[in-house]
């Protein structure tokens, strides 16, 4: 880089936890300041907008429940993505893997003939498998043929979306749902219990928390996790050490796709209780979870916090949409800005920038 002569940029050794936290907070605040300009453009004072977001997302039990509900899929997907990103696999396809999970859960709920308490566990297993299989396709294509993972995972999002649309308009369209493209409602045995009066399907939340811890242990305390990190940080060394890139790629996508599938099960069986339009189910959880995982610096445990943070933003976004009549796409703008400031700030973390004395 051709830096001006009065600037001095030195590479720092590994940044400390405190540096990471400080830089992340600064990045988010900066994103909020820039996003504030947009609020102002729409005639809403930024302070009022942020106040409304916070009050809406945290100010009442109902609001907090909405925050939690949004945080559940972000947590599950985010944890999976940290594992995939560790191995430098760019899984941008979590949305599609989530949708496959919803389809599998729907099949178990409506068409498998299963009854009783076995249904919900069966849905989770089926959802995991479906999401994992959908995720394994790009994994195999990358590991075997060297095909770019970003593109394949993205393309498979679109394919999954149209697959679900086909299911709800065609073979799975509910006979009792005249005119609407839904499946029938799930029977009670296939509805994940929620905290009364809310959409918080707590078993999925608990599952997410447990899996966050499990992923942390896997990445940091096992041989497999070590191999994943080596492949991600130094593919050259991995090849020398005889670590199979195929195996690690398959394992991380099995986990990442599977967890996204679980998130899908939670959404259809815990929130909507039926399969419906993909845009109503997912609302970009898979994309937002990328920022969730990145903000957590690929640490599965930190995802618990970052998922909650984006849960607040999503729930708050719903509130400003209704009460301040702002377009909901503002949240996309928000997400994009946070991501930019976050990656931009990484330079601050890895390099020490100071003024050079003349």
């Amino acid at each position: 880089m051709h830096a001006p002569s009065w600037l001095c940029i030195e590479r720092r050794p590994l940044p400390s936890g405190r540096t990471i936290l400080t830089v992340s907070v600064i990045a988010i605040v900066a994103a909020f300041v820039v996003a504030g300009i947009f609020f102002a453009l729409f005639g809403v004072p930024p302070i009022e907008a942020y106040g409304t977001i916070l009050r809406g997302a945290l100010g009442s039990w109902h609001g907090f429940a909405e925050t939690l509900r949004r945080a559940i899929p972000l947590l599950l997907i985010g944890v999976g993505l940290t594992v995939a990103f560790r191995a430098l696999f760019w899984n941008i396809g979590a949305d599609g893997q989530l949708l496959l999970g919803t389809a599998a859960a729907t099949w178990v709920a409506l068409f498998s003939g299963l009854h009783g308490p076995i249904v919900i566990p069966a849905m989770f297993v089926a959802g995991f498998i479906a999401g994992a299989l959908w995720g394994l396709i790009p994994a195999v294509l990358k590991a075997k043929l060297g095909i770019n993972d970003v593109i394949t995972t993205l393309m498979m999002n679109y394919i999954a979306m149209y697959l679900i649309m086909w299911l709800i308009h065609g073979p799975w369209k509910g006979p009792t749902m005249r005119g609407f493209a839904y499946t029938d409602k799930f029977p009670p045995a296939a509805q994940i219990p929620t905290i009364a009066g809310t959409h918080v399907h707590w078993p999925t939340l608990v599952l997410g928390l447990v899996l966050a811890v499990a992923a942390y242990v896997l990445v940091n305390r096992t041989k497999m996790g070590f191999e994943i990190r080596v492949v991600g940080e130094n593919p050259h060394a991995a090849r020398f050490a005889g670590i199979s890139q195929l195996k690690t790629t398959l394992v991380v996508m099995l986990i990442s796709g599977g967890l996204a599938g679980l998130a899908g099960v939670g959404e259809v069986a815990g929130v909507h209780m039926r399969l419906l339009d993909p845009n109503q189910i997912s609302m970009g959880y898979g994309y937002t979870a990328i920022i969730v995982a990145w903000l957590a610096r690929k640490n599965p445990l930190a995802v618990i916090i970052t998922a909650l943070f984006f849960g607040i933003l999503m729930a708050g976004g719903d509130v400003i949409k209704v009460s301040l009549q702002l377009p909901f796409q503002l949240i996309d703008v928000f997400n994009g800005l946070i991501m930019f400031f976050l990656i931009g700030s990484e330079l601050l973390m890895h390099y020490k920038i100071s003024l050079r004395r003349r």
Binding site: H2, M155, Y162, L163, L330, L337, F340
Partner: protein, 309 residues
């Protein structure tokens, strides 16, 4: 339907749908040749579509819309250039952020423009003489807008610059081995910035084509994933503008032909076809090490810092 009209409609639809893909691909080829992967095509394209529509609607001049779209796309790409070249941020994440930002911004700003009829779209032209050729004439030289032919003209020019001029050698050197290029006195940062901006301008113009010619209107999310197909086509094209032309039109023709299956296949599954095609195409062109030999820039996605390996 007779086979003549079948051919004519396939050709002309391939040109129409292939043009924005080709514009985007040409730009991405330049950016990637210089070593910068830009996944923000979708975001720049939709910002281009939006700004072109608004400009053409308010001024009544569609060509001014094309210009503004190019400028907006270029300006947007500078964000990516700054993040990835100057701040050395991860190119994948930055590109995704750019797409999110573009889609969000176009959605927010474009809300009040949705569904307005555009009376000042680009004019369709008929090329005298050539359009009289049977079948090929009406298929290729009739009913398209001038932007289609300008895009075609751009292909040999961009190919020639990339492979037969000093500028092209410089761009490719920066994408292959920035350290050596730097030691020979090339300003790596400047070359990369310029190539990313070229990509942004062309993506913006591609968006303009969508909202002023392909479907003259502004609808939310009207790029519908085209930006991602561009990324796939860039690989399919082996980073060569000539193959970019081939890939874009071929893809568009396949896309059009898939709609002929409507009697047998449900519309939802047909809509999934182009994305499946894109994956299949990538599978076909991938032959392990073939990629390296066929033009994948060695320093793609790698930031460059003087003094580090």
């Amino acid at each position: 339907m007779g086979w003549e009209s079948w051919f004519i409609s396939t050709f002309s639809r391939a040109l129409a749908y292939g043009t924005p893909l080709l514009l985007g691909t040409l730009g991405e080829i330049y950016a990637e040749r210089s070593g910068v992967l830009n996944l923000g095509i979708e975001g720049m394209m939709i910002m281009g579509a939006y700004s072109a529509f608004v400009t053409a609607y308010t001024t009544g001049n569609p060509w001014l819309g094309v210009l503004v779209a190019g400028a907006v796309g270029g300006a947007f790409s500078i964000i990516h250039a700054f993040a990835t070249i100057t701040l050395k941020a991860n190119q994948v994440v930055s590109g995704l952020a750019l797409t999110m930002l573009g889609i969000g911004l176009a959605g927010v700003l474009g809300r009040k423009w949705v569904g307005l009829p555009l009376f000042s779209s680009l004019h369709k032209v008929t090329i005298p003489g050539l359009s009289a050729i049977p079948i090929i004439g009406p298929g290729f030289f009739k009913g398209q807008t001038l932007l289609v032919y300008l895009t075609m003209l751009l292909v040999p020019i961009m190919w020639y610059i990339l492979f037969h001029t000093r500028i092209g050698i410089t761009i490719r050197a920066v994408g292959e081995d920035p350290a050596t290029a730097d030691s020979l006195g090339v300003n790596v940062t400047r070359v990369r910035y310029l190539c990313v901006i070229v990509g942004g301008v062309l993506a913006g113009v591609a968006g303009a084509y969508l909202s002023l010619s392909y479907r003259p209107a502004w609808t939310e999310g009207m790029t519908g994933g085209m930006g991602w197909i561009v990324i796939a086509l860039t690989i399919f094209a082996f980073w060569n503008p000539l193959y970019g032309l081939l890939g874009s039109y071929l893809f568009a023709a396949l896309y059009h032909l898939s709609y002929r299956l409507q009697t047998w296949v449900s519309p939802e599954l047909l809509k999934a076809m182009p994305y499946a095609f894109a994956i299949i195409i990538l599978v076909i062109v991938s032959r392990g090490t073939l990629h390296k030999r066929m033009g994948a820039p060695a320093a793609l996605t790698l930031p460059y810092t003087r003094g580090e390996q």
